[in-house]
């Protein structure tokens, strides 16, 4: 049986438990009521006030992110990327950063629930194990992607132990299935390749969000090719063909609205055109199969520029191996096959599309597979079912089928964090550890293993999901002692057996500790031979692409929500309030449609429409999206949850429409106010966010910068020691929002909720402004992170009647919350409107234990005071103290604000402007550099580097 109190506590676990208990006890009482007692005996290795960092791994779908967990007094507080993790450059996804809040989610299940009543583990086992023991039919295990060799071994052990056998399927509603299908057809396996944007010169994106927030590695690779030293480059060129406006399209050099149903045809037409320009087809691919795909006809059909498409063909041919063509998960398999063909023709396969170290593919169940399993369950083919990770009760896309499956299963067990939709249908709901409390390993590449270790002891009477399954296996197994009682031991045993290099001179314990310390283990692995494209599969795909009839009604594109993903993070307020990077919508989803469709149907933002497909429908407000392809509707999944105090009722559940290629749209006449974080979308001809094409950049450099020093009435501010400043490269920035979340986590920025976002009272210290320029059918998109500019002659400072905001000797514009009386005059006088006012007592609305996520280095602001970005002054102070303790001066790189540390593109650089050798000094003098609203004479400390685009020809402006 699983022993709850593990007597073999490791030192770390002990400390974690200790710390968490202490912090929890402290966090539950209001600080002004409880006495603050110092440690009588300080635990070894813990210095109160100093943060520790532990390496761990965050998994989401088929991606594993190496992270460092910052821990203060036993509490995990902040996540950042692990710089040992290759390709990620020490960065991580915004959702990974935000997931620390889920650890402290007040709605977490705290003890097992059996038959609807709070219970304990012994009773839960008594309810489950006899049924499993007596099972003559197989048990169904439905999980999310495993991505872990040890988890896979565990599933095998469980299979062996179950008398009636086990049917396991992994389902990730947000991962899509066409990519795997195409890979299976074209290459014979499901290995997923890495897209090496750091190697690509010409990138073609077909309805794929290469630069979505979670694509940390792709963003880093893309950004490395986006900020050249001068107008001569080198700089990559991104072509996007998409129905919905994505961050990829927003950052592209040429974005063409393109119907997703015609994306495969476009890729095949490009292949044909390349072939006609002399690029040989891979063996087995029939030129005749490509013959029906004509670029010019397609251009006419989609209203695109034919010269652009022909230019693209030339570009691809020129780039050769350095080209990359990628298709998105929403596209059918034939589009992916066509991309494989293009990449193979160009030689990009194996270069920019890198499968050399792809891990063994994990067969994810498709929607049809899942429905098949649920139908079998309804028919009584399984003795029991265990639902782990993915929320099948919510996302199975077929509520009736889910109900009948639940009725056909004698025993259903939910292993999860919450009493969610799935748990509500189950006899037993077993609470699982949050990943920050759990052990694990992941294999994102065949030469890389990532370790997950607990950063804190379990907050509640929960068990790690793997450990619950292990407990089942142990209890059912004939040879109970062959399996250890806890998953750490199981993991370690497997590592000793299979990972630890035989004949190593290092003892296993040291090897294990070193791996834990690093969080990742890079292994020697032979690169796999290049994949061979099966020509017949391509021919078949071409035929299939040709046979696609134009869908009736609107083409539907469903994608995971930028914050809530497949719905699993919907209870996380930070992610609900993180604006969608394109629409800037918070707290909910909306169906995007093109301006011309909106005009035709007389719809405006917020008008509710009914979408119907295959007998199912959903009512959802619309948002008029510039750049959307006419006839295409797109919306985010993961909303409309039916459980969770934050999540339930926010947005609309679109899973019932999952799998539908097209929908019909009927206006309902109803109207809903949508909580946009930004409501005005045009720059009105102002130059706050600047963008240059490479040729314009060359021109401006040739002309030189017009030097127009502003007249000054007062002597300039003096900064004797140093002058903190920031540079933001708009060309590198893709607008993913990692900085926004990191700032929120670091600086205790409150969540205000949809009603207040609607009123214009959101609190983000760091925001990303998004502007559209040009015609709404084909807009250019400008993205600009905006935060306090720490002006030397700050207009906010002079108007504060009580000196609550003032300047320090190092150039920081400080805010003394204690002194603030809340006249709000500073906000009026701030031309950037980055100051945020506490209209209510937001901190009092924190439901415990969410308060444990507060950073103790940053004041939690009371109501009635103004707040704003501090350049993470707490980090500056910490770095100064550390430098002083080490007896050395502060050096470049010692201080990194949370936003800069989180930016996967490396677009944010922070440092000392007085040091001429610092990066920020050099960037401040860049010929792309400018300061927003510099003409007001307030001398902001943030230099923006103008966005650069690399359009194909001088006449071809971006997006045209």
């Amino acid at each position: 049986m699983i022993e709850d109190a593990d007597i073999r506590l490791s030192r770390r676990r002990f400390l974690g438990l200790m710390g968490a208990t202490a912090a929890f006890a402290a966090g539950c009482s209001r600080p002004d009521r409880g006495a603050i007692v110092p440690f009588n005996k300080r635990p070894e290795g813990v210095t109160p006030g100093l943060a520790d960092f532990y390496a761990s791994t965050f998994q989401e779908g088929l991606t594993a992110y190496g992270v460092l967990v910052r821990i203060r007094e036993g509490r995990p507080l902040h996540l950042q990327g692990n710089d040992e993790h290759p390709g990620f450059r020490g960065k991580t996804s915004p959702r990974a950063i935000a997931d620390v809040l889920r650890l402290y989610d007040p709605d977490r299940l705290r003890r097992p629930i059996v038959d609807g009543r709070p219970s304990d583990w012994a009773r839960a086992e008594a309810r489950i194990l006899p049924a499993l023991k007596a099972a003559r039919k197989p048990v169904l295990l439905l999980s999310g992607a495993l991505l872990s060799p040890t988890r896979r071994a565990l599933v095998e052990d469980l299979r062996k132990a179950l008398p009636g056998g086990l049917v396991h399927a992994a389902w990730e509603p947000a991962c899509g299935e066409s990519e795997a299908q195409a890979s299976r057809a074209c290459f014979g396996d499901e290995r997923r390749s890495r897209l090496r944007l750091d190697r690509a010169e010409v990138v073609v994106s077909l309805e794929t969000d290469l630069l979505a927030g979670e694509r940390t590695e792709e963003i880093a690779g893309f950004a490395s090719k986006r900020a050249p030293a001068g107008p001569e480059g080198p700089m990559n060129r991104l072509y996007a063909f998409e129905g919905a406006m994505s961050l990829t399209g927003a950052n592209s050099d040429h974005r063409t609205p393109w119907k997703p149903s015609r994306a495969a045809a476009l890729a095949f037409a490009l292949a044909r055109a390349l072939h006609r320009k002399g690029v040989p087809l891979p063996s087995g691919v029939d030129a005749a199969a490509l013959a029906p795909f004509d670029l010019d006809a397609l251009a006419r059909e989609q209203g695109a520029s034919a010269s652009l498409l022909h230019g693209l063909v030339d570009d691809l041919k020129r780039a050769g191996r350095a080209a990359l063509v990628a298709a998105g998960p929403a596209l059918p398999p034939q589009a992916h096959a066509a991309c494989h063909l293009l990449n193979a023709m160009l030689g990009a396969e194996g270069r920019t599309v890198d499968a050399a170290f792809a891990p063994p593919g994990e067969a994810l169940a498709g929607l049809q597979d899942l429905r098949g399993l649920l139908r079998s369950a309804a028919a009584g083919k399984f003795a029991a079912a265990v639902f782990w990770q993915a929320n099948f009760g919510y996302a199975s896309a077929d509520p009736e089928l889910w109900k009948s499956a639940a009725a056909g299963l004698p025993l259903k067990v939910r292993i999860g964090l919450h009493a969610d939709e799935t748990a509500q249908a189950c006899e037993a709901a077993l609470p699982e550890h949050h990943w920050l409390e759990a052990w694990g390993d992941f294999e994102p590449a065949s030469d890389l293993l990532c370790l997950q270790q607990p950063a804190v002891g379990p907050l509640y009477d929960t068990r790690q999901g793997e450990e619950i399954l292990l407990g089942f296996a142990r209890a059912l197994s004939k040879d109970a002692h062959a399996l250890p009682a806890d998953y750490r031991e199981y993991l370690q045993r497997r590592w000793r057996r299979e990972v630890y290099p035989a004949g190593s001179l290092v003892p296993f314990e040291s090897f294990w500790q070193a791996s834990l310390h690093d969080g990742v283990l890079r292994r020697r692995a032979a690169p796999r031979p290049p994949r061979r494209l099966d020509g017949r599969a391509v021919n078949a795909a071409a035929a299939a692409a040709l046979a696609v009839p134009p869908p009736p009604g609107f083409e539907l594109l469903l994608s995971p929500g930028a914050g809530v993903y497949d719905g699993r993070y919907a209870n996380n307020g930070w992610l609900q309030e993180l604006p969608d990077p394109v629409t800037k919508l918070t707290w909910g989803n909306a169906a995007a449609l093109s301006p011309s469709d909106a005009q035709r149907l007389r719809l405006q933002d917020g008008d509710v429409v009914r979408l119907e497909a295959g007998g199912r429908s959903a009512e959802i407000p619309v948002v008029v999206q510039p750049g959307q392809a006419p006839g295409v509707l797109s919306a985010a999944l993961g909303y409309g949850r039916r459980s969770g105090s934050v999540a339930s009722g926010v947005g609309v559940d679109l899973y019932p429409l999952l799998g539908a290629a097209s929908v019909s749209l009927t206006p309902t006449g109803a109207r809903e106010a949508l909580p946009f974080a930004q409501r005005h979308h045009s720059l009105e001809g102002r130059d706050a966010a600047r963008s240059l094409s490479l040729s314009e950049y060359a021109e401006s450099r040739r002309k030189g910068r017009p030097e127009r020093p502003l007249a000054r009435l007062y002597p300039p501010q003096r900064f004797p020691a140093r002058k903190w400043a920031m540079a933001v490269d708009l060309s590198a920035c893709v607008g993913c929002g990692a900085c926004v979340v990191a700032c929120q986590s670091e600086n205790n920025v409150p969540v205000v909720g949809p009603e207040r976002v609607l009123k214009g009272r959101e609190m983000h210290w760091m925001r990303i402004d998004r502007y559209y320029a040009g015609p709404p059918e084909r807009p250019r998109v400008l993205l600009q992170p905006m935060l306090c500019q720490h002006c030397d002659d700050a207009p906010c400072e002079s108007v504060c009647p009580v000196n609550a905001t003032n300047h320090d000797s190092e150039g920081l514009n400080q805010m003394a919350y204690n002194r603030c009386v809340g006249t709000r005059y500073c906000s009026n006088n701030c031309p950037y409107k980055v100051r945020r006012f506490n209209f209510f007592e937001y901190a009092a609305q924190t439901r415990e234990p969410a308060g444990l996520a507060f950073n103790p280095e940053v004041t939690v602001r009371p109501r009635g005071v103004m707040e704003k970005c501090t350049f993470c002054v707490q980090r500056i102070q910490e770095a100064k103290a550390a430098a002083r303790a080490a007896g050395r001066p502060l050096r470049e790189g010692d201080v990194e604000p949370a936003c800069a540390a989180a930016c996967p593109a490396g677009a944010i650089v922070f440092g000392d402007l007085r040091d001429p050798s610092s990066r920020v000094s050099k960037l401040a003098l860049s010929d792309r550099g400018y300061r927003v609203l510099e003409e007001l004479g307030i001398r902001p400390s943030v230099t923006y580097l103008a966005d650069l685009t690399n359009p194909a020809g001088p006449e071809e402006r971006r997006g045209a």
């Binding site: 930004q678 409501r679 005005h680 979308h681 045009s682 720059l683 009105e684 001809g685 102002r686 706050a688 207040r756 009123k759 214009g760 009272r761 925001r767 402004d769 998004r770 502007y771 600009q784 905006m786 207009p795 002079s798 108007v799 504060c800 009647p801 009580v802 000196n803 002194r819 603030c820 009386v821 809340g822 006249t823 709000r824 005059y825 906000s827 009026n828 006088n829 031309p831 950037y832 409107k833 100051r835 945020r836 006012f837 506490n838 209209f839 209510f840 007592e841 009371p862 109501r863 009635g864 005071v865 103004m866 927003v932 609203l933 007001l936 307030i938």
Partner: protein, 442 residues
Amino acid sequence: MAPEATLSPASLDERVLSAAERKPPAAWWLALAAAASCMSLGFALMAYTLYMGIGAWGNNRPVVWAFDIINFVFWIGIGHAGTLISAILLLFRARWRNAISRTAEAMTLFAVVCAGLFPLIHLGRPWINFWLFPYPNQRGLWPNFRSPLIWDVFAVSTYFSVSLLFWYLGLVPDIASMRERARPGLRKLVLTVLSLGWRGEASHWRHYEKAYLLLAGLATGLVLSVHSVVSFDFAVSLVPGWHMTIFPPYFVAGAIFSGFAMVVLVLSVVRRTMRLEDIITPHHLEMMNKVILATSCLMAYSYLVEGFTAWYSMNPYLHHIFKQYLWGTYGWTGWTAIFCNCLIPQLFWSSRLRRSAPVMLFVAVAVLIGMWFERFVIIVISLHQDFLPSSWHLYEPTLVDYGILLGSFGLFFTLVLLFARLLPVIATTEMKAHLPREDAHA
């Protein structure tokens, strides 16, 4: 003046001072009940705001100032007429001021009380409002003397003190007259204390006249300075639409304009209900209406200069915001302000209309509405679309906002009603000084 000729000091005393000695009529009680109810509602909503936070209002970002500051500027403006009438017109020896000065001064005071509430309750943390005052403290912290809000604190508190003194000083001889008429009792005792031992001796009069003149001199500067300083709140900032050099004179003219409108409104009611038509004569009101007409033209001129500045500066931000004044979402408020402030008072070019009670009542109400909306235009429209379009946001007041606005009118009229019953609404001593002497030969 013909009507004054029929007045004698005794009849003046009888008619003005006796009001406080009679039982008030039912209409007065009704009016007081209505005003006090509004006032109570306002105070309740202020308490609610204090409990909930500024979030109870419609204020947002970027419109962090809205009804709170609109109401402040509106009431401060109303509070300009009294001092102007008492001080400047006294210095200019405009005799027509005598009949109306007392009421106008009282209104000034009450309006400043209303105005003073708003900066207080608009604070995020009003319980530490004393940090805005320069008082010695062991932390060695002072207010920021560069901030126009601190100038405001000084300007408004000085104005209030001087207005109070001025009003009270003028009241002393009248209170003494009331004391003489009062029967022994509590009322007499209070009047005795308030009259500061005034016996009407020649030396009293000499000192009184000197002090009154000195205070008039002091107050004259304040009439011009207070609203100039209030306008600095806007002019000194860099918000497009606020940052303009015309603001001080423009604000002062607007303040006198709206203040006179309020005086006309109140006086035309008071003279009717208290039967003072022969003391407060159409001539007095006509003179006031002439001032309204003159300041209305000044307002129109200021609006034109604002528009010219927006155009001539070639400042795109200013240009944009000026377009918003008239053609944006809130454009109707701009047109309301122009219509009420510039067009309607033009009726007063006709002397018949200038002397018509219904017309002047209509114009006064229109001017008050127009001037309130003018402040809405200046504050809300300028704030809602400033430099970075990403932050633009519309403003929508809540019921609490409307309630507090109503409450401030309730407070004002409660005070006016109490004043009308408890204290002499006409400066009888001054009136008497200008009555035709009984022993004079015609």
